[in-house]
Symmetry: none
Subunit: 213 residues, 4 copies
Amino acid sequence: MPTSASPASRRKRVRLKPEVRSRLILDAARAEFGTRGFTATRIEDIAARAGLTKTGVYAHFAGKDAIFEALLTDALQQVNAGRAAIWRLDGSATAADMVDAYLDGLYQMVQDPVFTELFRLLVTESQRVPELIRHWHAQVVLRYRFVEQDLINECVRRGLLRDSPLTRLFSLSVAPAFLWLVSKMILRQDAEYPLDQVRQIHRAMLLDQLQPR
Amino acid sequence: MPTSASPASRRKRVRLKPEVRSRLILDAARAEFGTRGFTATRIEDIAARAGLTKTGVYAHFAGKDAIFEALLTDALQQVNAGRAAIWRLDGSATAADMVDAYLDGLYQMVQDPVFTELFRLLVTESQRVPELIRHWHAQVVLRYRFVEQDLINECVRRGLLRDSPLTRLFSLSVAPAFLWLVSKMILRQDAEYPLDQVRQIHRAMLLDQLQPR
Amino acid sequence: MPTSASPASRRKRVRLKPEVRSRLILDAARAEFGTRGFTATRIEDIAARAGLTKTGVYAHFAGKDAIFEALLTDALQQVNAGRAAIWRLDGSATAADMVDAYLDGLYQMVQDPVFTELFRLLVTESQRVPELIRHWHAQVVLRYRFVEQDLINECVRRGLLRDSPLTRLFSLSVAPAFLWLVSKMILRQDAEYPLDQVRQIHRAMLLDQLQPR
Amino acid sequence: MPTSASPASRRKRVRLKPEVRSRLILDAARAEFGTRGFTATRIEDIAARAGLTKTGVYAHFAGKDAIFEALLTDALQQVNAGRAAIWRLDGSATAADMVDAYLDGLYQMVQDPVFTELFRLLVTESQRVPELIRHWHAQVVLRYRFVEQDLINECVRRGLLRDSPLTRLFSLSVAPAFLWLVSKMILRQDAEYPLDQVRQIHRAMLLDQLQPR
DNA sequence: AATGAATGAGAGTTCATTCAT
DNA sequence: TATGAATGAACTCTCATTCAT
């Protein structure tokens, strides 16, 4: 039956530039690895999602491990990129403004399927590439955290934010959003708590702890 | 491998009572599944850890899926059991007492390897047994949470705790500890933040939000 | 059609003792490797010839290389064993007696399919296991050759054999038989020269060179 | 491998005349097939040695089998060509002269890597092209042998050579050199016997058998 | 209950070959 | 003529599972 969807799915060999195809493969790999985990994902799954046969994948990557590593390297660079601009608020910002800007970035991130898949991958398979993880943590995560903490300290000094337990280890401020994310990953549905409610309470908690009295 | 005699091992068939052996198998399965994930774990790994050969496992469980389900059912029942008694504080308790009792249970839990393994399993493989997860969530997690929230509400009414954003969704109070746990799971080491520091700040934050002013 | 030969070839799983099965596998491997060479032989070929499925082979050997090595080790030990007793002729032997005993052993060997297969394997694949080959050559071949040469020297001293170029490097005396073997291996048929003629001339040449004048 | 630029190589597509490139490919094929055997040799190996990529090979040959056949046809024609002129000695030659001329040609041949590779190929893969082999054997080998034997017979008649077992089947006279060759092929080194010693003894044996007494 | 040989269903990877450029 | 992306057909090896003991 010649329906619109390619019937025999044999679409005659499409040739793409390496960069394009590699991109497709990495995206496919993120989706597949992130959903099923490393071992349960077949090269063929990735290939199909990237629009070629499994053999074609080997023209671009040396093997399953290489795909995995390339994917992680690639994905880890992208994460936090979205949040980098968060703190560029001018001096006139109030604590509430800052909290809202912060939560915008954070909740966008935890709702992004790309981030979710990467996050699950990290929890599940990080032991597979310990060096890569360590490097990312040291060079990206910690670096980001220092910048953020410095900024918070500066705000406290200026009196924009109240000095509180939270400002002493500000990275903990993501915790409620991550709790929601983990819960969602386990239940595979939003149902645990409505995200809105979590964010609302989260906002109130942050203001409670950060707003100068 | 064959063609070369294995020097160690080979303990000559030990026969145990079914309950005992099943217990061993389930514990082994938790450790193995929790470390490597479902697909990457081989029956043989579990068997070896449980002290028999892979064929022996089939005398106790129908197959890999059956082991997994039995293990989860079993492990999920145990979790929270340790924390159930936390709130049995009499009326004379102060907010600080309550917080400390709470944190004792919580941090003991997140440091327990059994819990860690189970937690990773939930994040990684929960889609494998959605019914089981849903049932556990509804019957155990939510039930526990209601009881807890009721208790908090009662404390607030009595003035033992201050009404604050956190008391309106008290389950968020575990968030910092879970953030630490997730971080540790990803980095596969404690190094991210020292647990003590996290707990200290966590305590200060809770007191800040719960203690009557 | 239930003919005598197993129709569906599914003979219900025969269980054999490891030694027996390993023997079967090694024999099968010799035949297959010796005919097609290492790379062109599939584990499945060997398995079928040994009466099990390819997976079953892995219960006995770690892999293709392991089979190959085990096979060579095994086969190399057997070769020459047949010839070892050749020189146990008493002092009353004439040169003709010695030559005939010698040729009996030699021509039996070069006609033995087991030897032929091994020989082809050595020519084709010896670079795959250089250590093994070197060890075999030093410990078996050279050792045998020294014994043989000593014996020849002794015969010459006693006047049983004539001192001639051949007695100075007696191992060359196999050359015509090996030439026939190589020719047969290339042509895959006896047709090159009739073996009998070669042997006859070979005998005459040896006598010509060894018999005291 | 992809995802990392290869530093050396990559000479930007050199276009050669078909005959030239075909020659390169055949030579490359001889070296590769002769070293590893047919199945273990990859088109890519041959291509690389011939200075192009594997796809380029298909512009000159229909496939792996075609290369193999072309190579053998080509190489078999070349062999013996070197030895054809050996017997053009005039009537004044002595037996020693003839033997030396004969051995010059023979030992040059068995030391030629081209011949060695071809020889191994014949031993290993001759069943792949039985017709070709049969034809070569009948048209080239046997023909040569007849000429040679006729010449020997003539020499014997003239009294230049002694009638002996060897002159009745003169083709056996190559045997010691081939034994050395086979030994070298198996051990992949000259070490078995020094070539000089073999040749010396070989010479003495031939003279012993051919020189008129 | 426990073992170890044996099996069937893959999975990753390689390779001869083809297609589009 | 030459290239490199893409393909299909193997092939090695793994693993959950079964069978006979």
